[in-house]
C-alpha cells in the first residue's frame, strides 16, 4: 500500500495556505508534517481525508481496497476528540467502533492499551484533556484501518502516555500501517520522514508574522515569488520536500 500526493495546493478563506506539496508514504512508513502555526499542517491532513478540497494536485492510494475511498480506510485524529460528555467512556468507544464498522465490539482491550480500562463507566464529561485524547486513540485501536492521520497527537498527553502512543504507533507501522502526523514535538518514531511546510507564503500579510518589522515584510514579499524553502534544505521544486530524519 502506498499513499502519494503530488503538487497539492490548499486555499482557505481566499488565501493560499500552501502549494506544490508532494509526498509518498508506503506501508510501514511514517511521515511527520512540520511547520509554523498556520502553515497548513491540519489542512493537509484534512485534504487527505477529503474534508477539505485541494485547490490543485492529486492524491492516490495504491494497493488499498479499490471499493473504498482514502477516508474510509483512514483514521483521523483531529484537534477535537469527538466524544459525548453524557456517554460513558465505554459507550463513546462502542459507538465509534460500531459506526466505523468494526464487527467485534470489544472495548476492553483498546481501553486497557491506553490505560482507561478502570474508567470505562465514567461519563465523558469527567475526563481530563489527556484522558479524552487517550480515549480518541483507543478508537484507532478498536477499528483496524491501515492509514492513520494524526493531528498533534501528543498535545495533551503526559510523558508516560506519549511513550505509550509511541509504542502503539510503532506497532501499527510494524503491522504494515501508514502514519501521517502533524506535530511540533517528537513522536518517538524511528526513521520518521519529515515534510516541511514552512515555505514562505505568497501572501505578504501572512509572511510578516507577529514581529511585524518592515524588514520581515520585505523579505517575505521578495521570497514570495520563488517559493523558496528555509535554508537547511533548499529545493528547486518548492515547498514540501521530504528528507530522512
Amino acid at each position: 500500500m502506498r499513499l502519494s500526493a503530488s503538487d497539492l495546493a490548499c486555499r482557505r478563506g481566499g488565501r493560499d495556505v500552501f502549494a506544490g506539496v508532494s509526498f509518498a508514504v508506503a506501508s510501514g512508513e511514517s511521515l511527520t508534517i512540520r511547520g509554523r502555526n498556520g502553515a497548513g499542517k491540519s489542512s493537509l491532513l484534512r485534504i487527505v481525508v477529503g474534508l477539505v478540497r485541494a485547490a490543485a494536485g492529486n492524491l492516490a492510494l495504491e494497493g488499498g481496497d479499490p471499493e473504498l475511498t482514502v477516508a474510509e480506510q483512514a483514521h483521523y485524529l483531529g484537534h477535537q476528540d469527538a466524544l459525548k460528555p453524557s456517554l460513558s467512556v465505554a459507550e463513546n468507544l462502542r459507538f465509534w467502533s460500531a459506526f466505523l464498522g468494526s464487527r467485534a465490539a470489544d472495548t476492553c482491550e483498546p481501553l486497557a492499551k491506553v490505560g482507561l480500562d478502570t474508567l470505562a463507566d465514567l461519563p465523558g464529561a469527567y475526563l481530563s484533556a489527556g484522558q479524552r485524547r487517550r480515549l480518541s486513540i483507543a478508537r484507532l485501536l478498536a477499528v483496524k484501518r491501515p492509514i492513520w492521520l494524526l493531528d498533534e497527537p501528543t498535545a495533551t498527553l503526559d510523558a508516560a502516555a506519549q511513550a505509550r502512543l509511541g509504542e502503539i504507533m510503532q506497532a501499527h507501522l510494524a503491522g504494515g500501517g501508514i502514519i501521517l502526523a502533524a506535530t511540533h514535538g517528537a513522536l518517538g518514531l524511528d526513521a520518521a520522514r519529515e515534510l516541511q511546510l514552512d515555505q514562505k507564503s505568497p501572501s505578504p500579510l501572512v509572511g510578516e508574522g507577529w514581529g511585524g518589522g518592515s524588514s520581515d515584510g520585505a523579505q517575505a514579499s521578495t521570497l514570495a515569488h520563488d517559493l523558496a524553502t528555509p535554508t537547511p534544505n533548499p529545493s528547486p521544486q518548492g515547498g514540501g520536500e521530504q528528507k530522512r530524519a
Binding site: 474510509e72 483521523y76 477535537q80 453524557s86 456517554l87 459507538f95 460500531a98 459506526f99 466505523l100 464498522g101
Partner: protein, 222 residues
Amino acid sequence: MTPLAAILLRDMRIAVRVGGGALMGVLFFLVVVTLVPFALGPDLALLTRIGPAILWLAALLASLLALDRLFAADHDDGSLDLILMGRAPLEVVVAVKGLAHWLTTGLPVIIAAPLIGLFLNLDAPAAAALVVTLLVGTPALTFIGMIGAAIAVTLRRGGLLLAVLVLPLTVPVLIFGVAAANAAVAGPVPFGTPFTILCALTLASLVVGPFAAAAALRQEME
C-alpha cells in the same frame, strides 16, 4: 450493530440523559399549553374552538427548541468530521438523526397532547383527531427543521437564525395540521381533504429534508 443503528441509539441515549433535549421539548409543550387557559379565562367554548390550534402551535415550537443542536453538537466536538468520512451515506445518516430527534422530542409531545388537551376542553374524538394529525405532521416539522439546523451548524448561536429560516417553511404543515384536526370535529370540510395534504407535505419533507441538510453540511465543512 450497523453504523446507522449505532447513530440512532447514540442520539436517543444522549437525548434522554442529563442535558439532552427530550424532556425539554415536552416540558416546554406542557408549560405553553397550560398557560393558555390562564390567559384566556374559563370560556370552555372558546377553548374547545382554539384548542387544536394551540396544541399544534406549541408542538411546532417544542420541536424547534432542541433542533439547533441536531448537528451543531456533532460539529462542535468533531464528531461530524468522522461522520462525513464514514462509509454510511451522509443523507441516510442525517435522516437517521432526524428520526432519533423525532422519537425523543416529537413522540413524547404526541403522547402528552391528549392529556394536556383536557386543559383546553378537548373531548375524546377531538383528542384522537389531534393525535393522528400530530403523528403525521410532526415528522415534517423535524425534517424541514433539519435543513435550517444544517445551514446554521457553524454558527455559535444559531437558534434564532434557525427559527427565522424554518418557521416560514413550516406554515403549510401548521395550516393543514390544524385544519385536519378541526375538520374532524367541527367540519364543514371532510377530514380527509386537509389530512391528505398533510400526509403529502410530510412525505415530501422526508425526501427533501435529508438531501438538503446533507448538502448544506457538506458545504459548511469546506
